[in-house]
Every structure is written in C-alpha cells, then in structure tokens.
C-alpha cells in the first residue's frame, strides 16, 4: 500500500525534475528570513543514513530538533533501499515521497538530502560532489581527494615533497596544482581517473596557483619569469600564453568569473587588494571591499557570478563576502582560503584550531559552520569540484 502510494507520486516528480523549474517548488510558499536556521526533525532512520542526513542538512543551515518544534518533518524507511518523505509541519500531505536505489546506502542518503535541500532552499545539489585539498605530514604535503564530507579519501600524490593550490578542471576529472618535487615550482596537470600527470608549466622563476576557466578551455596562473609574480593566461593545450598583469606589484590568487570573461586576483601594493581584469587582457579595475582595512587575499568568485568571497587580515583571518562588482564587504566567520560549492551558498575553508589546520564548511546565509571531522591531520587549500 505504502509502496503503491510512493509509486504514484514519484514519476510526476521525476519528470518535473528534468524541467528548468522543478514542479514541487510551487508547493511551498513560505517567506523566510534566509539567515535563520531551519528546525527539522528526522525519524525512522538510524545509523549511516541518519548521520548522513544530519551532516548534510546541518551544512545547509538546518538544525535537528524534536518533531513538535520542527518546521519540516523528514522521515525514512530503510527497506533494501531508502524510502524518504518530506512533510511540512502542520501539513497533511507529503511534499514529496521518493524511493532511492542503486549506489550505496550512504549515496542514497546523500540523494535524499539533496532533494530535501533543493525543495526547501531551492539550491543546486552538492552532496555527491568532491573536494581536493593539501594534507601536511612530516614536512611534506600531498594532494588528497575526498567526498565533500571527508569520506572516501584518496591520496593523489606520493611525492614526499611539497604541493600547493589544487584546482579542479570542470567535470572533476583533472586537477592542476603547484609541485616542488623537482627542486623548483612547476604546475602539474593530473588526470585523477588514470593517475597520469604532465608538466603544464615550468618556466624560469616561479610557476604556481593554476586555475582552470569554467569552460575548461584556459588556465590562469602566476609566473615570475618576467621578474615579478604576474598573472598569465594560456590555452588548456599550453599555447597562447599571455601576460595580463604588469608592473612591480606582485599578483596572486586568480579566480575566474563564471562566464570566463574576467579574472579577479590580488595585487600587493602597500596592502593587498582585489582587481578585476578581462581574461583577454586590458586595464584592471579595483574591486572595492568597503569596511576591510587589512590585506584582502584568496578570493573565490561564486559560480552564480554574484559575489566574491575572500580572506581578510594577517594572522587572524576572517572570511568576508562582497558583491562581484565591489561594494561593502560582509564579515562572515574566522577562517581563510574559502572556496564555493556549486550551489553558490556553501563554502569550504581552512580554520586554524590550536595551530592545526582544519577543513570546515560554512553556510553563508546562516553563518553556520561545520568542521569536516572525517579528515584528520593538518589540511588546507580546499578546492570544491564544480
């Protein structure tokens, strides 16, 4: 009986899912303060499914509470597969009821959480996405890849030297990063499915901080072959190298606009501030970060193009966000090296705790922070595949 009921509902939702505007969005019409944590309850599931749902939804600024205090009631049945339901408090009908099969139970729970987040918050799914980061051990660092919540960690390098600034090419199959394995800095391109690597850039002077354009066609990076660390762009093949930033003030931390037309980067002239420049070259303009007086470093442009998150300060770092065209910056939480998730809402960043570096997740509207405790050791420079 129960199964039949679910089967009546799901085909409708499934085809709605493929349309630009999901049909179920019209079901909910609540005006909500976006900065408010949403109380939810989770019943009927235990073990891994419960812990996945709790973690994922907490990352989205929700908080598990008793059913009578919750705005949304989430329930599930583990029955060879996961059957999940979402209800609004006080409502009689399910907002959705759906069964998940295939993959692991963990993966099914992530899919259920993605559906809940999409339905309540209208955000793009992120719970199946990957992150890359640097892990420090015994004086060397290696690149690791994991699920966004720290599960399924794989060490991508075993060079016993230093690596830094991992960056994904779109699609999540290729990483670019800085390597010191040859006694100089080189930019490597690394196919994470085959393990094949190639040297992408190894000019005289420094070669570091590669970032791939959102269409995958070009790479921006910092090279010092001209005598100052400067911003360069070249084709994905390595050809067509072009210097974009000039002058004696060093450039760092490039990040692409989602349309690939512009690059935001840091210039240190007295203090570090943000610039925006056409990715074809031209005159850079300043991105005003009103209210921030210290160094402005490590920017990351949101995938929806609307905002830039960055690190302010020296030593005591704070994450701040500013409109992409510049303006007054909003201070968020303590931390550094932020990177947006594909939903332009969640951010992964590095938090210093007792002089150890911990990867943490921030829900920007609610400023809710969740450490990724599955990842141990001193880790930094997280990059979200998107």
């Amino acid at each position: 009986m129960k199964i039949k009921q679910i089967s009546n509902i799901v085909p409708v939702l499934l085809c709605g899912w493929c349309l630009a505007a999901p049909a179920q969005d019209s079901i909910i019409q609540i005006t909500r303060d976006a900065s408010k944590v949403i109380p939810i309850s989770i019943t009927g599931v235990g073990g891994e499914v419960e812990s996945v749902l709790k973690f994922d939804l907490s990352v989205m600024g929700m908080e598990v509470t008793a059913p009578e205090k919750a705005d949304y009631l989430i329930s599930g049945v583990e029955n060879g597969r996961l059957e999940g339901r979402l209800k609004q408090a006080g409502g009689n009908a399910d907002i959705f009821a759906r069964a998940y099969s295939g993959g692991s139970l963990r993966s099914q729970a992530h899919s259920f959480a993605d559906d809940i987040a999409r339905t309540i918050l209208d955000t793009a799914p992120i719970f199946h996405s990957k992150i890359a980061f640097c892990r420090e051990a015994d004086g060397s660092t290696e690149i690791c890849v994991a699920d966004f919540d720290g599960n399924n960690q794989v060490e991508m390098t075993r060079d016993g030297s230093l690596v830094a600034t991992p960056a994904w090419a779109p699609g999540g199959r290729t990483l670019f990063y800085t390597s010191w394995r040859n006694g100089a800095t080189q930019i490597l391109e690394h196919d994470v499915t085959s393990g094949a690597r190639r040297v992408f850039a190894a000019f005289g002077g420094a070669n570091f901080n590669p970032v791939v354009s959102p269409d995958g066609g070009r790479v921006a990076m910092i090279l010092s072959k001209g005598g100052t660390p400067s911003l360069y762009v070249c084709d994905r093949s390595g050809g067509g190298l072009r210097q974009l930033s000039f002058g004696r003030d060093e450039a760092s931390s490039p990040t692409w606009s989602p349309d690939g037309r512009e690059i935001c980067y840091v210039v240190r002239s007295g203090r570090a501030t943000l610039r925006r420049i056409s990715s074809q070259g031209g005159e850079p303009g300043e991105v005003r970060t009103g209210g921030v007086f210290g160094n402005v470093t490590s920017p990351d442009w949101s995938p929806d193009g609307k905002k830039i998150i960055f690190t302010s300060g020296s030593g005591n770092f704070t994450l701040c966000v500013v409109p992409a065209e510049g303006g007054n910056a909003e201070s968020l939480v303590d931390g550094e090296d932020p990177c947006w998730a594909p939903n332009s809402r969640t951010v992964i960043f590095t938090r210093r705790a007792n002089h150890n570096k911990v990867l943490s997740l921030l829900d920007v509207p609610t400023k809710h922070v969740k450490d990724i405790t599955q990842i141990s050791g001193s880790c930094s420079q997280p990059a979200w595949a998107r």
């Binding site: 679910i6 089967s7 799901v10 085909p11 499934l14 709605g16 899912w17 493929c18 759906r98 998940y100 099969s101 295939g102 993959g103 993966s107 099914q108 992530h110 660092t141 399924n152 794989v154 991508m156 390098t157 230093l162 830094a164 100089a184 690394h190 499915t193 085959s194 094949a196 690597r197 190639r198 040297v199 992408f200 850039a201 000019f203 005289g204 420094a206 910092i222 072959k225 001209g226 005598g227 660390p229 070249c234 093949s237 390595g238 050809g239 190298l241 072009r242 210097q243 000039f246 004696r248 060093e250 760092s252 931390s253 840091v266 240190r268 160094n295 470093t297 490590s298 690190t311 090296d337």
Partner: protein
C-alpha cells in the same frame, strides 16, 4: 505546443538518466543515485612534454618587461648547475637575509651579507645560487607564495646591481611551508621571514 515538446524532452532525459546510471533492473520510478567512480591513486607513470626545463611548448609573445629583471630562457653556462647541481646549504648559511612583516624590501642591515654573497659568486663563477624566499604564517598560503617569490626576486635584483650575472641566480618560493622556527610568536616569525642562500655546485 512548446510545453508538450519540453515534456517529451524531459521524458527522454529521464530515461537517459536512468539508463546511464545503471538502474535498468529497478522499477522505472526509482530515483537513480549518481554512480560515483572514485579516483584511483596514481600509478607513478607520467608523461612530460618534450622540453621539461622550459615548460610546455608556448609561443612567446612580445611582453612588457617593466615588471622586473626577467629570467633568461636561453641555455647558458649556469642552466645545468641550476637544474641539477649539488646543494650546499652551509657555505652561505649566515648570509640569509631577513625581512620585515609583509615586506620584501631589503633592509640596510642586510647589505653586508649580500655583498659577501656577491663576492662569493664572482669568485666561484662555476657555481650558481638559489635564493629561497620564505614567509611567516600570517599570510594566506596563496598570498605567501607570491610574497616569498617577491623576496627571492628582490635578493636576485640586489645581487645583479652588485655586478652578479642574473643568470647565475635562481629563485624559489616556499611561502610559509618551511619555517625554521615552528613557534607562533614574533620571535619565531622574524626568523621565518627570510631569503636562504643555497649554493649549487656542478656535479663532478
């Protein structure tokens, strides 16, 4: 009309998604979970381009060189020793130069050391020098990579102005990854904001 087109596209799309994710055996209404293929650790096989010392085959463009003292890209008498010379970290150990916080300016107090380094390089023309730029932990890592490189470049330019051939000197930034003092106070930080002088000796 448009709507019905969209709907039929979406049904095809749904069918494709189900097909592609390996859910053929389940009832059609089941929500397919994306099938993840986890990255494998790398075998150590690698491919390098034909000219590793120069990076990928890039057509040089006319560049504004006002950004500083550029690196010579032609093969010269120091190319090999810079790439594969034997490291000597002791000889010029005491000539490491130190920097103020968030600064790459060579301080007056460091002049004497750099004069010694210049003399050494001129007296040992077969050797080369690698200047390693380092930072304290109070910058973000990406920022420190640029600052460390700037410090090393400042030393290189200073030596050049003392008459050293700039082709004899390479730079390397470590950002804040190689502190000499792991402490978290000014006493440690001032030791970590430095340029180390590493002599490179030709392999016999």
């Amino acid at each position: 009309m448009k709507t019905s087109n969209l709907l039929s596209v979406s049904f095809v799309g749904a069918a494709l998604i189900l097909g592609a994710t390996g859910c053929q055996h389940g009832p059609q209404w089941l929500t397919a979970v994306p099938h993840q293929s986890y990255p494998q650790p790398p075998p150590q096989a690698e491919t390098t381009n034909n000219n590793p010392s120069r990076g990928v085959a890039i057509v040089p463009q006319q560049e504004n060189t006002s950004t500083g003292l550029p690196f010579d890209t032609n093969h010269n008498q120091w190319t090999d020793v810079l790439a594969s010379g034997v490291e000597d970290r002791d000889t010029l150990k005491n000539d490491a130069v130190y920097f103020d916080f968030d600064s790459a300016t060579i301080k007056k107090s460091e002049d004497k050391k750099l004069e010694e380094v210049a003399k050494f390089l001129q007296a040992n023309p077969n050797d080369a020098l690698r200047v390693e730029g380092n930072c304290d932990e109070r910058g973000t890592e990406k920022y420190n990579l640029a600052l460390g490189e700037r410090r090393a470049l400042q030393v290189r330019e200073y030596l050049h102005n003392l008459g050293v051939d700039s082709r004899q000197v390479a730079t390397l930034t470590f950002g804040a990854a190689k502190p000499v003092d792991p402490g978290h106070n000014e006493a440690a930080w001032k030791k970590n904001r430095r340029g180390d002088m590493v002599v490179l000796i030709p392999k016999k």
